[in-house]
């Protein structure tokens, strides 16, 4: 089933009887060459690129709940590549380029909208840091523009430029950044993978790994044993729990991050605006809701819900930045569980268990990375070598001292 404008017209004229389910609901086979644990964005993208780009077959994705039921459906949908460090920026720019061609690539409307992201600065030192980051982005082939106060005012006249503590002095703008429809991304990858023969097996929780002589031979699941040549784990939020079944401890703490959406409003926010100093960022969905958030709650959690003090903190940040938000009513608040890694950067690597691979530690930046994470993880699974943009995301980088610490706060996950 190919999606196109012509198809929409034809279906409209014939009573919409030709639409089919986007994927099958297969029974698990006794054995696969590749098993991906986790049917979220990264897992589905991995299966998609493994089948399509790397031409592999006999692939299954095992998901304990329904597809896309974790963080791919709980994030605030921002895509961007505005990182500083050489271990990160080429990877995120690779992801940005994949986003730009994604809908044509997998023939599905992911509502990728390059409406721009604006990071606000409030001091000369912060502007210098933004200039440096912008230059790092340009060197990696991304786009970046440093805006002065009046240019920011022209874009977003509703901001409070004269806040006593954080007056707005300018901003770093990435025009190619923006938002995407998060569920659509999961569905597009799932459909694309299914069309290429990947078995997407839902309600199938992995309960253990079968490891013989240091090599993986399969997984135990709630639907029985499934043999596998290679197993890739992409279960951010639960990585420590899953990898503990293989006897591993990870450089990760699980933390809850809350997100918010207001009632639907007329178009008012031009893109994504971040107010890092005030723990607040905001964009507006195509339905009109203001989608916003702040920092993680800051303590280990697997609860998928946070506490009120952070809601208050985020609301205060919003009021400080754009006082008009006080007139909007909050519609929903929810939480997602983040793999907070020890340096704030992810892990895409093999593990000490032969044939077992790990994709984890995305902190609260996993959504934007979905295409490149899937691509790089598929590259690693298919070829045994890291993708060139993901070669710094090694599991042993902590012990070796090669951390990728964008914020420079050290091994303190709740500060990243």
């Amino acid at each position: 089933m190919h999606f196109s404008g012509l198809r929409v017209i034809r279906e409209a004229l014939t009573g919409h009887k030709g639409w089919k389910p986007l994927w099958r609901n297969p029974e698990p086979q006794p054995a696969y060459d590749y098993i991906i644990v986790g049917g979220g964005g990264h897992g589905l993208a991995t299966a998609y690129y493994l089948a399509k780009t790397f031409g592999r077959a006999r692939i299954a994705v095992l998901e304990k709940s329904w597809l896309g039921s974790g963080n791919i459906g709980r994030n605030t949908t921002i895509i961007r590549s505005n990182y500083l460090l050489p271990g990160n920026e080429p990877f995120y720019e690779f992801s940005m380029k994949l986003w730009e061609g994604l809908e044509q690539e997998f023939n599905f409307n992911a509502m990728v909208s390059q409406r721009g992201i604006l990071n606000l600065c409030h001091t000369d030192a912060q502007r210098d840091a933004f200039r440096r980051r912008g230059n790092a982005m340009l060197l990696a082939g991304a786009d970046a523009e440093l805006l002065d106060r009046e240019q920011v005012r022209a874009m977003a006249p509703f901001l409070n430029f004269d806040n006593a503590r954080f007056p707005i002095k300018g901003g770093l703008l990435q025009r190619r950044a923006g938002t995407a429809r998060h569920d659509g991304v999961a569905w597009g990858y799932a459909r694309g993978a299914d069309m290429r023969g990947v078995d997407l097996i839902q309600n199938c929780e992995v309960t253990g790994f079968r490891i013989d002589g240091g090599r993986i031979s399969g997984v135990e699941t709630t639907r029985g044993h499934i043999a596998a040549g290679k197993v890739g784990v992409a279960v951010a939020g639960s990585s420590s729990r899953v990898m503990a079944m293989a006897g591993m401890r990870l450089p990760i703490e699980s933390h809850v991050l809350q997100a918010f959406v207001s009632e639907g409003l007329k178009p008012t926010i031009p893109g994504v605006i971040t107010f890092g100093a005030g723990h607040f960022y905001v964009s507006q969905s195509d339905k009109g809701g203001l989608v916003f958030g702040g920092d993680i709650d800051g303590y280990n959690s697997y609860a998928q819900r946070g506490n009120l003090p952070v809601i208050e903190d985020v609301a205060e940040g919003g009021m400080a930045l754009m006082p008009m938000i006080g007139r909007a009513r909050l519609l929903r608040v929810w939480g997602g569980i983040m793999d907070m890694s020890m340096d704030g950067s992810p892990i895409i690597d093999r593990t000490p268990v032969e044939g077992l691979y790990l994709n984890a530690g995305w902190c609260y930046g996993g959504f934007k990375a979905t295409p490149a994470s899937g691509y790089a993880f598929a590259h690693l699974l298919a070829t045994g070598r890291p993708h060139e943009t993901a070669s710094a995301y090694r599991l042993d980088r902590f012990a070796r001292g090669h951390v990728i610490d964008e914020k420079g706060v050290g091994a303190q996950p709740n500060l990243h």
């Binding site: 303590y299 697997y302 609860a303 303190q412």
Partner: protein, 94 residues
């Protein structure tokens, strides 16, 4: 969340800052054999359990004591709190 401070009674968790797993009380011996590997593990690796978790909270906006709080990470229910000093003197957080 309210933390039952052993000296001050129930205190709002907002008065505290969070450090992490109470196993951080068990600092390795830097002079021992294999200290480098032991420190890499101490600094970077965590059990990160879903369920009961013993963790260090600092009463920054209060009496500036360190507590070991026992909390369920799946529900945020706080099951108890001790002075970290007492825990350490009893031999550390197992």
């Amino acid at each position: 969340m309210l933390i039952p401070h052993p000296l001050l009674g129930l205190r709002d968790a907002q008065e505290f800052t969070y450090l992490g797993d109470a196993a951080l009380l068990n600092r390795p011996d830097g002079m021992a054999e294999g200290a480098e590997a032991a420190f890499a593990e101490y600094v970077y690796l965590r059990d990160n359990p879903a369920g009961v978790h013993r963790e260090l909270w600092f009463h920054e906006q209060g009496d500036r004591s360190w507590l070991v709080v026992t909390r369920d990470t799946t529900t945020h229910e706080i099951l108890g709190a001790e002075l970290a000093r007492d825990v350490k003197l009893k031999g550390g957080a197992a």
